[in-house]
């Protein structure tokens, strides 16, 4: 049984502290839900656990089965058994889903061991079938032109094939219609076992109706401010987070200011006389 331990975690980005002393322990077999308003640090926590280079750990530690992850690279963390199902999986043009998943599964094999292609293809087909994904999935370019639901199902497909010890699922319910949510929920629930610990990040009860958590945490202003059972989900769904303000003595909290960034333009303008 694996164990993910986060102790006194303080994280900054561009000099600004965004996680302020997170403590969390997730064991194999447990499912934890993390809820909270926008911009309070839920996704950041998942990215920091996975090792996104944008974030700086100022204090504290993250351990998986006793191994300190703080200085481990992203790929090392993955091979140690972490998995992050992304909120917005990036598109990688030209790289087929098949080649990508095959490379990922190969990367998780012990050094010197080669993937058995036939077995891999069968596993991929089975996983795709269980997720009710189209037969052409393998040869489509990674996430390119995928609908929101297809992207999320593709994340779960990878999770099924990589068999992580700890899975972080970041808003895996966003962009899913009712049927897709049910399919994702059933597949994730079917993966529950003493060998898999899960952290579900979500805004909505509907995901937690299909993947039932054992523990619920609420993050506000970069801190876990409340931990409880499933009763918290219903309360949040009914009342939002206002009741916590009163309980914690918080007057208001503001979403972090986001500075718009130009992504550039491909347009060119040449000086010249106007015609017409």
């Amino acid at each position: 049984m694996s164990i993910l331990e986060i102790k006194d975690l303080v994280v900054s980005v561009e000099g600004k502290v965004i996680l302020e002393g997170i403590n969390l322990t997730v064991k194999g077999g447990e499912t934890h839900a993390i809820m909270g308003p926008n911009g309070t640090g839920k996704s950041t926590l998942a990215q920091v656990i996975m090792g996104h280079p944008k974030y700086v750990i100022e204090n504290g530690e993250i351990r998986l089965d006793g191994v300190l992850l703080n200085e481990k690279t992203v790929d090392e963390r993955s091979r140690l058994g972490l998995f992050l199902g992304m909120q917005n999986p990036v598109e990688v043009p030209g790289v087929t889903n098949f080649d990508f998943v095959r490379a990922a599964v190969q990367a998780h094999l012990p050094q010197g061991q080669h993937l058995r292609l036939g077995k891999f293809i069968l596993s991929l087909e089975d996983a795709a079938k269980e997720l009710k994904m189209g037969s052409g999935l393998a040869h489509r370019h990674l996430n390119e032109g995928f609908s929101g639901g297809e992207k999320k199902r593709n994340e779960i497909l990878q999770m099924k094939l990589l068999r992580p010890k700890i899975a972080l699922l970041d808003e895996i319910d966003s962009g899913l219609d009712v049927d897709a949510l049910r399919i994702v929920g059933e597949n994730v629930t079917a993966m529950k076992s003493p060998e898999l610990g899960m952290i579900l990040i979500t805004h909505y009860q509907r995901l937690l109706d299909t993947i039932v958590p054992d523990v619920v945490h609420i993050i506000l202003q970069g801190r876990i401010v409340k931990t409880g059972g499933r009763e918290l989900i219903a309360k949040i769904d009914a009342e939002g987070y206002d009741w916590l303000k009163a309980e914690l003595g918080i007057e208001t909290w503001e979403e972090p200011e986001k500075t718009p960034v130009s992504l550039g333009t491909c347009a060119t303008k040449k000086p010249g006389p106007l015609r017409g």
Partner: protein, 310 residues
């Protein structure tokens, strides 16, 4: 000149100065003052890929290919390496309803100089699918002009260009929609390894009256060295209302978010970079149906990218 081993066993025509060599029956070749002419009037011999090999020379530098009405043909044109390779011109003329699938591979040595002019004239209902691999040539200037002369003609032009150390390339592409209901799709994938400089100007023109035409451009470039440069100038010049047109352009170093995503699945940084770059290569490599030739192209690509930041 002996035929390269990787082409042995294929249906190959070797085009040498003043001499055309082939086994089997491939009618329609003719020597001209400027080079070679091929007129295809019968689909039977050309439905399976035929590879035309040009050793690369100064004396005879023109290849003209004509397809008669309704003819379908699949051709590879391979430009082998010589240090003194000069100018080359390719003219394609497709008659009504003709269809040509052409893979045009430039495998010249790193020391060669290449000036390449390509031209296509497309008659009514004809279709050209051209995949180009620019994998050689330290100084390369390429100019493409694709003319959709008559209604319902269409062209799909895919280019993979890999420029290596100290190479400077200039590529100009012009697609002219000269008749209504014509379709063009241009995809350019550019790789600048080391300190290579690649300049691409790509333009699509839809003239007045050529309604229901569709002109699409996609340009992607990846710079693998600190001193590499890729510049792309996409243009659409549209003089008609009822048309579709679009262009996209994305150039830069490897996207760190793509890298991160692949690394979250256990790939090392190097493996992730290689997979992303493979995404640029696979559209061309997948079009080469002869395994030995595909392996040779792959080897050539690897040699070209050796030492790149991967």
């Amino acid at each position: 000149m002996n035929l390269p081993r990787y082409l042995e066993g294929d249906r190959v025509v070797l085009l040498r100065p003043s001499f055309i060599e082939y086994e089997g029956d491939f009618p329609g070749f003719r020597l001209t003052d400027r080079g070679f002419s091929l007129s295809i009037a019968n689909s039977q011999k050309w439905a399976e890929p035929v590879t035309l090999v040009l050793p690369g020379f100064r004396e005879a530098n023109h290849l003209r290919i004509r397809l008669a009405s309704g003819i379908r043909a699949i051709l590879n044109v391979i430009h082998l390496s010589t240090p003194d390779q000069g100018a080359f011109a390719l003219s394609l003329e497709l008659s009504e309803g003709a269809s040509l699938t052409l893979t045009d591979l430039y495998l010249g040595t790193d020391a060669s100089v290449q000036i390449v002019d390509r031209f296509a004239a497309m008659d009514r209902g004809s279709s050209l699918e051209i995949a180009t691999g620019l994998i050689g040539g330290s100084r390369l200037t390429m100019k493409d002009e694709w003319d959709l002369v008559a209604e319902e003609s269409r062209i799909s032009a895919d280019l993979l260009a890999i420029a290596g150390t100290k190479e400077q390339w200039k590529i100009t592409q012009t697609t002219r929609h000269l008749a209504p209901e014509t379709t063009s799709s241009t995809t350019n994938l550019l790789i600048s390894a080391h300190d290579a400089v690649v300049n691409l100007a790509v333009s699509g023109h839809i003239g007045k009256g050529n309604h229901h035409s569709d002109c699409q451009q996609t340009n992607r470039g990846v710079i693998l060295g600190e001193k590499g440069v890729i510049s792309v100038e996409p243009q659409l010049l549209i003089d008609e209302y009822d048309v579709k047109a679009g262009h996209g352009c994305a150039i830069g170093q490897i996207n760190p978010e793509e890298l991160y995503y692949l690394q979250t699945r256990g790939l090392t940084e190097s493996e992730a970079k290689r997979l992303i770059v493979a995404g640029y290569l696979s559209p061309l490599l997948n079009k080469i149906t002869q395994p030995a030739l595909a392996r040779q192209v792959n080897r050539r690509i690897n040699r070209k990218m050796k030492g790149a930041d991967l």
